[in-house]
């Protein structure tokens, strides 16, 4: 019985003295049969583990684990609960932007489960940070973060127990669907209402309001047509150069060819674009616009004739030059487009 006990306590190293004492009492009280003992030991250990997990889960919806905890509570039998583990690298020096976003979604999911009425001890949500448990990453042969894995209550994790992040994305709804698929537990994702947007709006309004209030004696700037026109033009140019596409798709700034080291700023296909490219287009568009305005000014302003002539030449030069340049970029992207102007 003593040997058995040591085994038990070896497995459950976290047990405190009191619990070891109780266990000892129970064990010595019950008797000789090894089978019974080991069963009982397993059961007790299980209860212990579940109790500990519940305790943690009640404190934080996502249990943070290091290597040791992970091995004991997730890897080692006995278990009657499933664990979903997010392997991640949240330390700032790791510079993992996706990890942060994935973590937010994961927290939402775990919280929805934690505070739902269906909360049981059948499933727990945990996370392992690379900087706290790099040995786990090595053990599982994992070389990318974030990764979601499900450890079923019985048996080893299969292929489908690793969540396909690339394919399904890390939206909480998708993860919950995957969990439902793996464990038959449905987690209804409840997103906390997003106060950030209205708050920002309120903040902005307050800033604008206070600015106006501070300068209430001099509200001339509100009637400045140039400022308004400039703001409107900025907005329009930003939109027509495809910044919204960048915002939604998040393309790289430019592409560097790893073999030659050459940097290309223009994407080769007409279906996609780089950020650098949109900035170039923005610049060209505004140059053409500016040229048009200059041409108009040259004809209408009351400056002397020499200046007006220069303005006129600059205007038409800007329009023609930048438009043909833009056309040549377009031609490079849109294969099979036959026309060009001034330059190829």
């Amino acid at each position: 019985a003593r040997r058995l006990m040591r085994k038990c306590s070896d497995r459950g190293a976290k047990m405190n003295d009191a619990s070891v004492q109780t266990l000892l009492d129970i064990l010595s009280g019950v008797g000789e049969k090894n089978v019974t003992n080991s069963l009982l030991c397993t059961k007790t250990l299980l209860m212990e583990k579940v109790g500990q997990m519940m305790d943690w889960a009640s404190k934080r919806s996502v249990i943070r684990m290091n290597g040791e905890k992970f091995r004991r509570f997730v890897k080692a039998p006995p278990r009657n609960y499933s664990v979903v583990v997010m392997f991640t690298a949240l330390q700032p020096q790791r510079q993992c932007g996706v990890c942060k976003q994935a973590d937010e979604e994961y927290q939402i999911l775990a919280n929805s489960w934690r505070y739902s009425s269906a909360f049981t001890n059948k499933i727990f949500f945990a996370s392992v940070d690379f900087d706290e448990g790099s040995d786990i990453f090595h053990m599982l042969n994992m070389n990318s973060a974030p990764t979601f894995m499900h450890f079923p209550s019985k048996g080893k994790p299969k292929r489908a127990d690793t969540y396909e992040l690339q394919v399904r994305g890390f939206a909480a709804e998708q993860i919950s669907r995957w969990i439902a698929d793996r464990t038959d537990i449905n987690v209804r994702v409840i997103r906390p209402p997003n106060y950030a947007g209205p708050l920002m709006l309120g903040f902005l309004l307050a800033v604008v309001g206070s600015l106006v209030y501070l300068r209430r004696n001099n509200l001339e700037f509100l009637y400045n047509k140039n400022a308004w026109a400039f703001a409107a033009l900025c907005f329009v140019l930003i939109m027509t150069s495809g910044q919204m596409w960048n915002h939604i798709r998040g393309p790289p700034y430019a592409h560097k060819n790893p073999n030659t080291g050459q940097v290309s700023y223009i994407h080769g296909s007409s279906q996609a674009q780089f950020v650098a490219e949109t900035h170039i287009v923005l610049l060209f568009n505004s140059a053409v616009t500016f040229g048009m305005v200059l041409l108009h000014e040259a004809a209408t302003s009351d400056m002397d004739i020499g200046k007006r002539k220069i303005m006129c030449i600059a205007g038409i030069g800007l329009v023609v030059l930048f438009f043909s340049w833009l056309l040549s970029i377009f031609r490079a992207k849109y294969h099979g487009y036959p026309y060009s102007f001034l330059m190829n």
Partner: protein
């Protein structure tokens, strides 16, 4: 692979653009001239077929019958209520023209009316754009604007003959409504406002985009109030417009009570209330002393704010009205990408790249900010309107490619203003300029004139480039990808691939009248319209789970698919296969979307990852995933293809679209048999063997019990 995920596929609800680049092969989707349209009378492509069918129904059965029309030919076994779920403007317009012509004893077929409706309305659009620009700037700008909108690619995609589409008439209604609105703000006369309301009513009946009007006009009024440009004219115009427009728009069955319920329309109501309050205060101001007025003002404002606040809280609390402002501010594709694969799958619901802007607008996209600049510099009531129009439209166009359509008219107008204000000073201004600077020597004058000439020439050259660009785009990209495909040989001669019509004709002649044809939803309207057979799903994608069921059947193995097809009573399966000719818009290239949509509803049975190789590639050759190589779509596409050698340089079974030798050449069917394959293998039709003796479907039995 790149093209596959990027271009998406299909034609969602309204219209289509075909901007897929055909990699490496010389097959270009292209239509022919109007004459060819007449011969073929292809009401180009997919969903337009549905509009035509509805119009036909309307003319042959009358208006009330049309409103009550239940179409049992579509969405078998569910059917579809048509009358209450479409915007009837298009059908009624075509029907009315047909009726009038027949009344005058000019017997034309309704089909001819439908084919030529879009060009007629694009002419009307040009006229209303001219009128609107003339109100905003001057006659010269108006003429330029009309020229621009007549040829600009962004609009011509809806105005080619044979494009029988809601948007075609809706843009006319949009521009005309705006013209009448500007006119009524300028004059303050109820006559123009009522005209504006009627035009608005027409717009509501034609297109869901009317929401743009009902938000832009209140915005205009609101900004006018902020700019302290309130006048009696604005008050009359907006009060009349709001009330009459509201009542009229509620007459359309599909719109119903939405204008007083949904949050899209709340801005209009709010501005209406605000305008009344403002007018009332103005009235009081005239009657009261300053001190009294101030007290009253603060009392009134705080009371009003409190009431509005409480009402909103109450309504939100009871769930009658959701503050879904964020839905509009946050770009829809991002929202949809996460939640609804069927929306993400449609190429029109994507954000817009700068290439699309340039492709659709060419020089106009660079010059219209200049027009905006001139408008804001010389601001007045109606120019506030056009500035707001430009800013809101450019935002929406940036978010969704499809909404480029609403941006196009305003870009034409503003560009026209920019060009016309340049031309005004450089073109034929000799006489005017001659008189003031008398001190200039004639020598300098000559120089200036030559300078002016150069500027004018260069500008005209740019405009010429624009015209050439428009012609090229129209003939290459936007002449509707109809059911007829054309291919070009190296020497430039043209082959016509008429496989679609061949197949639909076969269906019509050789199958039972009540046969049910399963296909992917892109071809639903075509099958219903041209083959006159019952379809399971079609381009009106109102029922996602039904589409997912079809997707599941296509992506399961044969026996599982057979069960689904049995339960849905399918007699024939139709697929599009481009491997022989290298046509990239075929079903295998769309296949991943079928899988995704099926997975959305049946995550236990279909998994997208099963269709990829372990490296995450989508391959049809030997290295492809076994699930893919044995699914129904693959088998149907490549059945007997392994025996076929297209070229001496390539092995048998070489797929030209995907440039790969197929991985499963030994395909045998247990429950299906090949019924028809068109000349270039573009359309393949399979018959589902009927093994069970009972023909009544489990579906119908279930429905009866």
């Amino acid at each position: 692979m790149d093209g596959l995920t990027d271009s998406g596929h299909g034609h969602f609800n309204t219209k289509h653009k075909w901007r897929t680049e055909f990699s490496g092969c010389n097959y270009v989707v292209k239509n022919d001239t109007v004459a060819n349209h007449m011969r073929v009378v292809s009401l180009s492509s997919f969903l337009l077929r549905f509009n035509y069918r509805s119009t036909h129904h309307l003319t042959s059965n009358g208006f009330y019958e049309f409103l009550n029309w239940f179409d049992e030919r579509a969405w078998y076994p569910l059917g579809r209520i048509v009358g209450g779920t479409v915007y009837p403007g298009l059908m009624v317009t075509a029907g009315l023209i047909h009726y009038v012509l027949n009344l005058l004893h000019m017997t034309v077929h309704i089909r001819d009316v439908c084919v030529f409706l879009a060009p007629i309305f694009s002419g009307l659009t040009a006229i209303s754009t001219f009128l609107l620009t003339r109100e905003l700037w001057n006659q010269g700008a108006g003429l330029l604007a009309a020229c621009f909108i007549a040829i600009v690619p962004g609009y011509i995609s809806r105005s080619v003959a044979g494009s029988f589409d809601n948007e075609g008439i809706a843009i006319f209604a949009l521009q005309f409504t705006y013209y009448l609105w500007v006119k009524s703000v300028k004059t303050g006369s109820v006559f123009w406002t009522i005209g504006c309301c009627l035009s608005y009513f027409y717009m509501v009946s034609a297109w869901g985009g009317y929401v743009f009007i009902i938000n832009l006009i209140p915005l205009h009024v609101f900004v006018l109030l902020l700019m302290q440009r309130y006048s009696r004219r604005v008050y009359i115009a907006y009060s009349t417009f709001y009330i009459v427009g509201l009542v009229l728009s509620m007459q359309i069955p599909f719109v119903g009570f939405q204008p007083i319920r949904t949050s899209e329309h709340m801005a209009a109501a709010g501005v209406f209330a605000l305008l009344q309050a403002y007018a009332f205060l103005q009235y009081l101001k005239d009657r009261l002393t300053k001190q009294e007025f101030q007290t009253l003002f603060f009392l009134g404002v705080s009371l009003a704010a409190g009431v509005v606040f409480l009402t909103v809280i109450y309504l939100t609390y009871t769930g009658k009205f959701s503050l879904s402002l964020m839905r509009y501010l946050c770009p829809p594709p991002r929202y949809a990408k996460i939640h609804i694969p069927i929306i993400a799958s449609v190429s029109e619901h994507q954000p817009t790249t700068w290439v699309s802007f340039f492709f659709d607008l060419h020089i106009l996209v660079c010059t219209f900010p200049a027009g905006l600049w001139f408008c804001i510099k010389n601001i007045n009531d109606e120019r506030v309107f056009v500035a707001l129009y430009a800013i809101s439209a450019v935002y929406f166009a940036g978010v969704m490619v499809r909404l480029m359509l609403t941006l196009t008219p305003v870009v034409c107008m503003l560009s026209a203003i920019a060009f016309s204000s340049v031309f005004e000073h450089y073109l034929g201004d000799d006489q005017k300029k001659d008189s003031p600077p008398t001190e200039d020597s004639s020598d300098e004058d000559d120089k200036r004139n030559s300078g002016n000439l150069i500027v004018t020439m260069l500008m005209l050259m740019l405009l010429m480039m624009f015209a050439v660009h428009c012609t090229w785009v129209t003939s290459n990209a936007y002449s509707s990808p109809s059911v007829v495909l054309a291919s070009y040989n190296h020497d430039g001669s043209r082959n016509i691939l008429d496989d679609f019509r061949e197949a639909y004709y076969w269906l019509r002649q050789n199958t039972d009248e009540h046969a049910r044809v399963m296909s992917w939803w892109d071809y639903g309207y075509q099958i219903a319209g041209m083959a006159n057979r019952t379809t399971l799903v079609d381009n009106n994608t109102w029922n996602n789970s039904h589409i997912a069921l079809v997707g599941k059947a296509m992506s399961s193995n044969e026996s599982a698919a057979y069960q689904i097809m049995q339960s849905l009573d399918v007699d024939y399966v139709l697929i599009i296969f481009g491997g022989v000719i290298g046509y990239s818009g075929d079903d295998i290239n769309k296949f991943l979307w079928m899988v995704r949509i099926a997975e959305g509803e049946h995550p236990k049975d279909i998994r997208e990852s099963d269709y990829f190789t372990p490296q995450g590639e989508f391959r049809v050759d030997k290295a492809g995933s076994p699930t893919l190589l044995n699914c129904l779509m693959y088998k149907m596409s490549y059945y007997r293809f392994g025996e076929m050698q297209l070229d001496f340089r390539t092995p048998p079974g070489f797929d030209r679209t995907r440039n790969a030798e197929i991985g499963n050449k030994d395909i045998k069917f247990k429950h299906l048999e090949e019924a028809f394959t068109s000349e270039h293998w573009l359309v393949r039709i399979y018959k589902v063997k009927n093994e069970g003796s009972s023909r009544t479907s489990s579906f119908l039995r279930k429905a009866r019990s």
